[in-house]
Amino acid sequence: MTPLALIGRFATYLLLSVAAFISIFPFFWMIVGASNTSADIIRGKSSPGGALFDNIAKFVNSFDMVRVLFNSFLIAGLGTALTLLIASMAGYGFEMFRSRFREKIFGGLLLMLSIPFAALMIPLFMLMANFKIINTYQAVILPGIASIFIIFYFRQASKAFPSELRDAAKIDGLKEWQIFLYVYMPVMRSTYAAATIIVFMNNWNSYLWPLIVLQTNEMKTLTLAVATLAAGYTPDFGVIMVGAIAATLPTLIIFFLLQRRFVEGMLGAVK
């Protein structure tokens, strides 16, 4: 190895190590923080303390936690399942069926992707008010499930789906929905895995829209509950850290479970 290449190597490791440290440090901070009192956390104490169980107890008692967790899992889970189903059907449809308007409609969709949520917030809220479903699960889930980004993602990935498979299945007498269910879905496993991570993450962490449509404490999600705890003038950081861990754990677990397929799935989509 030439000296120059050696320096390059060293710089690479240095850069990556610093990046990895900065990426991981807040996680470490959150875990240590959960065991310290609020005053210690603000004072920057970075060693474990003895307040863990106290913080957990305070956190659990500050809300109807069972209900809050149920809300979060229901909204994120159902939302993810519906989004994946609808978006993958749309992506499949766009790729498989040729029609005169296909590219025009798709172009229109991409244009809509650039419309910020802020622009839709108020009309959507009024729409929900007209349907009389403010403060319900439907109101939180429905607007998100036709995600243009995920449709786009599935369409890109569907380009890699071999059309011979579809033709063969057709000759065998399978109907379109059967092809989709028994051929397309298993073949596209990795794509679904990557999309699951992204969609679940977005749903689980979503803040602005639930903040607007969910108005009573019984309907709050974990994200909203932690935000409420953090909003006061003297937030109890120890308790909030427990909440932050609770709010991060599900997405973290899903990510680690699906990690291998995740990169594979992304690979298919950017081809």
Binding site: W29, L120, L124, V226, P235, A244, T251, V263
Partner: protein, 276 residues
């Protein structure tokens, strides 16, 4: 196609509705047609100008820094001989899985006045006095930029990494045999090959930053004295915090639409030019 029906109800209809609303004036539920009144109000609204400047500032600083970092990390991690690849990749992606609320709170505690950030900087003698991160207009902006960069760099990195793995290895081998140095291989092979993905991530990041809401609302509430107020936060305040003025809020939101349109167009043109 159920997706199109849903999009019709939850996208097209609200889009048209908010366009109609942007020409309405009045408070609460009393509307009347105001013509261009809202647009005239925009030009005289100092809070709006402030929010617009802040949003553009965040965009101009954060998006390029983040995308360059993501590209560098991805390039380093694409080297199959790199030791600890899996670890670095997971570590750098990890911030993406945290909830916005969780990481905002964590950043808030790290950047408290006698928090760990100040203590470290003091210990290293990089600063003489503790910085009042969240109450100083300049440093509050710095913290917001740090926070979004922390959270989203790994996300973009994954797109680049996936795209890099689609590049044919033999191109690099050939360049290596011809004696092309590593930086030149990166600049003349990797970057041009990734152009579509870079365009995609820059459009997505631009849209995301122009809609920045969660972080500023949780970290600083737009303060101190509107130093971190963004357009989305202003729209939210206009519609839900004070006496609602939906019409004017809708007008402000169309400012974002127009900005996204202009910037995406510029990015597409820039990408096309470099190809020629």
């Amino acid at each position: 196609m159920p997706a199109l029906v849903l999009l019709g109800i939850f996208m097209v209809y609200p889009i048209l509705w908010s366009l109609w609303m942007s020409f309405q004036v009045g408070r609460g539920m009393n509307f009347s047609f105001g013509g261009l009144a809202n647009i005239i109000r925009l030009t005289q609204d100092t809070v709006f100008i402030r929010a617009l400047t802040n949003t553009l500032l965040f965009l101009a600083v954060q998006v390029p820094v983040m995308l360059v970092l993501a590209l560098l990390f991805a390039n380093a991690l694409n080297d199959s001989k790199l030791w600890g690849r899996g670890f670095f990749r997971t570590a750098i992606f990890l911030p993406c899985v945290t909830s916005l609320v969780a990481y905002s709170v964590i950043f808030k505690s790290i950047f408290a006045i006698d928090g760990i950030a100040n203590q470290t900087l003091l210990a290293l003698h990089l600063i003489a006095d503790p910085i009042n991160w969240l109450s100083d207009p300049f440093y509050a902006r710095v913290v917001v930029i740090l926070a979004i960069t922390w959270r989203w760099t790994g996300y973009n990195m994954i797109f680049y990494l996936a795209a890099m793995q689609n590049i044919d290895r033999s191109i690099y081998e050939a360049a290596k045999i011809d004696g092309v140095p590593a930086w030149a291989r990166f600049w003349y092979i990797t970057v041009p090959m990734l152009k579509p993905v870079i365009l995609f991530t820059s459009v997505i990041s631009t849209i995301g930053t122009l809609q920045l809401f969660d972080e500023v609302n949780l970290l600083t509430m737009g303060g101190p004295s509107d130093a971190t107020l963004t357009l989305s936060l202003y729209i939210y305040n206009l519609s839900f915090k004070f006496m609602p003025s939906f019409g004017y809020a809708a007008t402000v939101s169309y400012v974002i639409v127009v900005l996204v349109g202009i910037l995406s167009f510029i990015q597409f043109v820039a990408a096309r030019d470099r190809r020629a």
